[in-house]
């Protein structure tokens, strides 16, 4: 007779771990199963070249919900977030736009391009902050189902309506604009400097298969404005030890609460008996029994792979099959023999501790998208670079560095060739692009790791390599994420739940899906609720 658990979580990504920790905190006996040798999913740090630690997939943190950090006491478990102090956007003419934490210095730098924009920048920052706060409300609630007329959903809709109507009329209009406009059009209403618009717009396209002129991208812009570290809004940070340190801290908190974590244990199927979850069957033939099974994997895995179709309604299967993944990002991780030297700001300096964004113009980003929409990776991609070893010296041996280059666009489906065949060509394209701005780059590369969307899918199981476990597009948000009627973390199979980024409120190292799912599960189990939950 195998061990029986109160709850089994499939997948040890940060959402799975958070879900497990919250369930264990309520007194459940919880088991987390992770197929890889380490926990974290897309939130991992790996030493792939001796002495050099790569933030393999994700690389910065900002969206992590503060209540989770508090509830799980993550700092005590080793989480330290170091601020990322600046964003430098180099231009092809050898100059750059440099924005950092020194507010007045940033305004002076913007004023070099346009005095008017420098004035608008403050207003813009304030407005976005305010809007982010208004929208943040939605991140913390369970999406109501507008097709239901039960009191809970009506109450939820009314609450949402009240919240929205609580905004001033002007802010409500701003919110509608953010939900529907393209980031280029939205920014056009504020600024005239191309590079400023471009580098701001860039955060609206991360993880999407949309260009800066595609409606809907302004929302993603806001999504990235919701960052909160130590109560300090709009701050991006780097976790000491890389993003893997976040997963490790959560895992440590979970273990302390009694969660059992098994790595290198791949789940084959969720077992269903009498319309109810019974446990999981492993790839190695073993089984674990459990009253509750929670999938932290994406909707494709959760509904089409882990469970037999016979247990699910045909309509649901059809809408999950239509769920868009459209992976569009890749990554190049580098081990460097020396510090990179920027053409526009040579030598050492605090700018190396911030982000370097290759996004010189809106047209540049749009053309990068054009390549992808016809099935090729961008010939001149948008690249978001950080140098983790500059922020946290432990990431590389003394004097050496690691560099993380997030690349867009890299479409999962290539029109010509396969990703296996074109991996190095892709890597070269990225290096060549970066080298235009960092001339010494090619001479100092010791080792490079090229990650394609196919690698993301094969290594960590994100379908089509979508880093948000499903596109953050208007028709896939809120009560439509991942599909109508199952947006509340439940599934049609009793006691089978979902808690990954494919559910509301979506991707990023945020943890909200994992936490909200745990709350719903506990509600169903009618366990006595603790304070603060």
């Amino acid at each position: 007779m195998p061990n029986k658990y109160d709850a089994i979580i499939i997948g040890g990504g940060h959402n799975g771990l958070i879900n497990a920790a919250y369930l264990a905190r309520a007194g459940l006996k919880v088991l987390v199963l992770e197929q890889r040798y380490l926990v974290g999913g897309a939130t991992v740090t790996e030493e792939l070249y001796p002495g050099f630690k790569y933030t393999v997939f994700s690389y910065v943190v900002s969206l992590m919900r503060p209540e989770i950090i508090r509830d799980l006491d993550l700092p005590r478990h080793g989480l330290t977030v170091l601020p990322l102090e600046s964003t430098l956007t180099p231009l092809s003419d050898g100059t750059c736009l440099y924005r950092d934490n020194d507010h007045y210095r940033t305004l002076r730098d913007i004023a070099r391009f346009s005095q008017r924009d420098a004035e608008a920048y403050e207003d813009y920052g304030r407005t976005m902050l305010f809007m982010a706060k208004a929208v943040k409300y939605m991140l913390g609630i369970i999406p109501p189902d507008p097709t239901k007329i039960n009191p809970k959903d009506l109450f939820g809709l009314a609450g949402l309506g009240k919240h929205l109507l609580g905004l001033s009329e002007e802010n409500l209009h701003m919110l509608i604009k953010l939900m529907t406009m393209s980031s280029a059009d939205f920014l056009e209403q504020w600024f005239e400097t191309d590079v400023l618009k471009a580098t701001l717009a860039a955060s609206g396209i991360i993880g999407t298969f949309l260009g800066p002129r595609s409606p809907g991208t302004a929302y993603v812009l806001l999504h990235h404005y919701m960052g909160e570290i130590d109560g300090n809004f709009r701050t991006w940070g780097f976790a000491k030890g890389g993003t893997g340190a976040i997963a490790d801290a959560i895992a440590s908190a979970a273990r302390e609460l009694g969660v059992e974590i098994q790595t290198e244990t791949a789940v084959e199927k969720v077992m269903v008996k009498g319309g109810k979850v019974a446990g999981v069957a492993l790839k190695n033939g073993n089984e674990f029994l459990s009253d509750v099974v929670v999938s932290s994997l994406d909707p494709n895995m959760t509904f089409l792979k882990l469970i037999d179709a016979e247990h699910l309604p045909v309509d649901l299967l059809a809408s999950i099959k239509k769920f868009k993944f459209n992976g569009s990002s890749g990554k190049v991780n580098l081990a460097l023999d020396a510090a990179p030297d920027l053409k526009c700001m040579p030598g050492y300096g605090p700018h190396l501790r911030g982000a370097i964004s290759i996004s010189p113009s809106v047209d540049y980003l749009e053309r990068a998208y054009d390549d992808a929409k016809y099935g090729n990776f961008s010939q001149k991609p948008y690249i978001d670079i950080i140098i983790p070893s500059m922020i946290d010296p432990d990431m590389a041996p003394p004097g050496k560095h690691v560099m993380s280059c997030f690349v867009q666009y890299a479409p999962y489906n290539l029109k010509e060739g396969t990703w296996e065949e074109r991996r190095e060509e892709f890597g070269d394209t990225v290096i060549n692009t970066v080298a235009e701005y960092i001339p010494n780059l090619k001479d100092i590369i010791l080792h490079r790791q090229v990650i394609t969307p196919l690698d993301i899918e094969q290594t960590i199981g994100l379908s089509q390599g979508n880093i948000f476990a499903g596109e953050l597009s208007l028709s896939q948000l809120f009560f439509l994420r991942p599909a109508a009627g199952i947006a509340k973390y439940r599934t049609p199979v009793k006691n089978y739940y979902q808690c990954g980024s494919g559910t509301h409120p979506g991707g990023g190292i945020m943890g909200a899906p994992g936490r909200l799912a745990a709350m719903e599960i506990l509600k169903d189990l009618r366990k006595p609720r603790r304070e603060g939950q």
């Binding site: 529907t180 595609s214 409606p215 047209d363 597009s473 028709s475 109508a484």
Partner: protein, 526 residues
């Protein structure tokens, strides 16, 4: 204070005429002033060449609100619709065109040549489309509710639409919410595999808009154009005698109810005193006062050219300035000595009687948009062609024909050169594109006449040549149209109203903005 009129309407576009007719019908003393000699604005029929008549702007009245036709008894005033049996003939670069009929069964047979599975799904698609558009139909005639002081009376029509949505059942209701913001390409990919079919149907999703079919919100536009249609293609109805006959019928109805209509009279200024509109000043210096001044011009012309920015608050001015117009449409008219021979068209009499579409795939359309995105007109444009003389002999002398081509994309702002200089090049691209499908085309041309977005702006008063008085993007609809917070036909200037396509629900020959505006004005005039 005594006024010359109860209401003065600036501009005799079809919406202005609709407002005039309904106000007059309610017993108001109404004056309509039109700058041009011809009525109808962009819904007009003009004789550019002797003996050949052309629908200047719109060539189809498929979207016209049926309640306008019945309440104003327009048939009595000479409005007659012609339903072509063929809805669309989508030309293909290598072979037989795809013909879509009003009869869904016949379309199925045609689609089967392209894809058997698509043919099977087509009737279900038509039904689905009809259901989704039914909800939109109700929304068209409802004034967007005020956000801040919601009251039952304003919400009632929306509750009705909500119930309509509810009646769709859970599945379709969610489908409705889900598809509105979708890119047309995604919506159609979920249904069909044939590029020809998707191109033919999807092209209406980008009409008048500076977006490609891969952009969010283009499904909404597609549905908007399909309101009232039951055969998968967008709604289409031709007017006997040309679109001008619709405007004439509206004008006759208005006059019958006592409205005065003056053409060749340009309004120079709307006189505002203490944030209150009092009168209009004409080009000849005359001043006429009215209790309500209603502008059929687009919002930017109305507020900046007629009212003047100093009479408005800075915030409102900024919103007007931020309206995205971005005209993208050019129109080319041809007088032809005979019917062009389109490759693969076996029965020109029927196949050429509807819309002839050149948009072989949605990728073709997206690439056409790419050009415009970077500031040049499409080298391989998407064309919507009609030959009204095929069904209606009054358009051209016996045996000869007129052809009207709506071309997309022709961006108002060009990266290099200006439209006066690029015009000839665009004409050549359009002729070349048609010639690819109809090799004898060039030889048939007797006269040609091209309207670029700049011409639409200069001659028809459409800012930036935007045929919809502002893009119909998701952020410029409902309570956001024409500017956020002023979606109820009223303006910050008391007694000044808008009734054009720049207001809810937007462009196209629907008459809905005019119809709704009349209702709101009457509420205030009581």
């Amino acid at each position: 204070m005594s006024y010359n009129y109860d209401a003065i309407i600036i501009g005799a576009g079809h919406n202005g005429l609709v407002t005039a007719a309904f106000l007059a019908k309610a017993g108001k003393k109404v004056l309509v002033l039109e700058r041009r000699q011809c009525l109808g604005g962009a819904a007009a029929t003009e004789e550019f060449f002797p003996g050949f008549k052309f629908n200047t702007g719109a060539h189809d009245a498929g979207l016209l609100l049926p309640e306008i036709v019945s309440k104003l008894d327009l048939q009595k005033y000479g409005l007659e619709f012609i339903d072509s049996q063929v809805e669309a003939c989508a030309l293909q670069p290598d072979g037989t065109p795809l013909t879509l009929w009003r009869d869904v069964k016949k379309s199925q047979e045609e689609i089967a040549h392209f894809s058997k599975t698509d043919a099977v799904k087509f009737p279900q698609f038509c039904q689905h489309l009809e259901q989704l558009t039914k909800v939109l139909a109700g929304v068209r005639t409802s004034t967007p509710p005020p956000v801040k002081d919601l009251n039952f009376r304003d919400l009632l029509p929306w509750i009705k639409s909500g119930l309509q949505l509810k009646r769709l059942g859970k599945q379709d209701m969610m489908a409705f919410l889900k598809v509105l913001p979708m890119p047309a390409i995604q919506f159609l990919d979920e249904w069909f595999e044939s590029d020809a079919l998707k191109g033919a149907i999807g092209a209406s999703g980008v009409t008048g808009s500076m977006q490609g079919p891969m952009a969010s919100g283009t499904t909404f536009m597609m549905l908007y154009h399909a309101i009232g249609s039951s055969c998968g293609f967008r709604a289409s109805k031709f007017v006997r005698g040309g679109m001008g006959q619709l405007s004439m019928a509206l004008a006759k109805a208005a006059k019958q109810h006592g409205a005065e209509i003056k053409t060749g009279v340009e309004v120079k200024q709307i006189v505002v005193n203490e944030y209150q509109a009092q009168s209009v000043v004409l080009a000849n210096g005359d001043e006429l006062s009215a209790q309500a001044i209603i502008s059929n011009a687009d919002p930017r012309r109305t507020f900046f050219d007629l009212v003047g920015a100093p009479n408005l608050g800075p915030q409102f001015n900024r919103m007007v300035k931020n309206i995205r117009f971005r005209g993208t449409t050019a129109k080319m008219n041809f007088a032809l000595s005979g019917l062009p021979k389109f490759k693969g068209v076996a029965n020109p009499g029927s196949q050429l009687s509807g819309h002839i579409i050149i948009c072989p795939s949605l990728e073709y359309l997206e690439r056409a948009y790419d050009d415009a995105k970077y500031g040049t007109f499409s080298k391989q444009p998407s064309l919507d062609i009609v030959l009204p003389s095929v069904l209606d002999s009054m358009f051209a002398p016996e045996g000869q024909h007129v052809m009207s081509v709506t071309m997309q994309y022709a961006p108002y702002r060009l990266k290099s050169g200006d439209w006066d200089e690029q015009k000839e090049k665009l004409a050549e691209v359009i002729i070349k594109t048609i010639s690819k499908y109809a090799p004898n085309f060039r030889k048939l041309i007797l006269h040609q006449h091209l309207l670029t977005p700049l011409d639409f702006e200069r001659d028809y008063g459409l800012t930036e040549g935007s045929i919809f008085h502002g893009q119909m993007g998701l952020d410029q609809l409902l309570l956001m149209r024409p500017v956020p917070g002023w979606g109820r036909y009223r303006t910050p200037v008391e007694n000044l109203y808008l009734c054009g396509a720049g207001t809810h629900p937007g462009g196209g020959v629907t008459g809905a903005p005019g119809y709704n505006a009349a209702r709101e004005v009457l509420k205030d005039l009581k």
